[in-house]
Symmetry: C2
Subunit: 93 residues, 2 copies
Amino acid sequence: MAQSADAKAYNAKVYVTLRPSVLDPAGTAVRSGLSHMGYDNVSKVRIGKYIEVELTAESEVAAKSQLDKICDQLLANPVIENYRIEILEAVAV
Amino acid sequence: MAQSADAKAYNAKVYVTLRPSVLDPAGTAVRSGLSHMGYDNVSKVRIGKYIEVELTAESEVAAKSQLDKICDQLLANPVIENYRIEILEAVAV
């Protein structure tokens, strides 16, 4: 994956969430804890991951394509998790 | 925290990130793993939490105020973490 001279820097934000059908014990525990703390108007809590990635790529499309692979292979478990990717161009390298 | 009849439902998204000055060993490990997998164009990875909260409140301002307290008390560690809150109004209850 050699970078050519015109590779650009991108800042990506990746949101990994449990699929709606998957139980979230940690979220349930937080909701229960909030209830004990007096916040009984909180009806649901779901906990996911938020990952910031800095990378260089030829184009935004290339960056998105690579991040899709990275999510499938490492950041998310596609069996139980969904992910969403946002990409912003950073300053040129 | 009794709810009056005109309480509205809100969906909030909370992003908890480590302060920039705090080391992120998990993020560094992911970056290193990606490098070993051939993704050597990834220069930085920071891992945070993404939390979805459903709650009812009198107003968006009240919901925001309560979520600030919840973050300070439970969801984030203010010493080493920052948080950001986004609130969307859900269907009326």
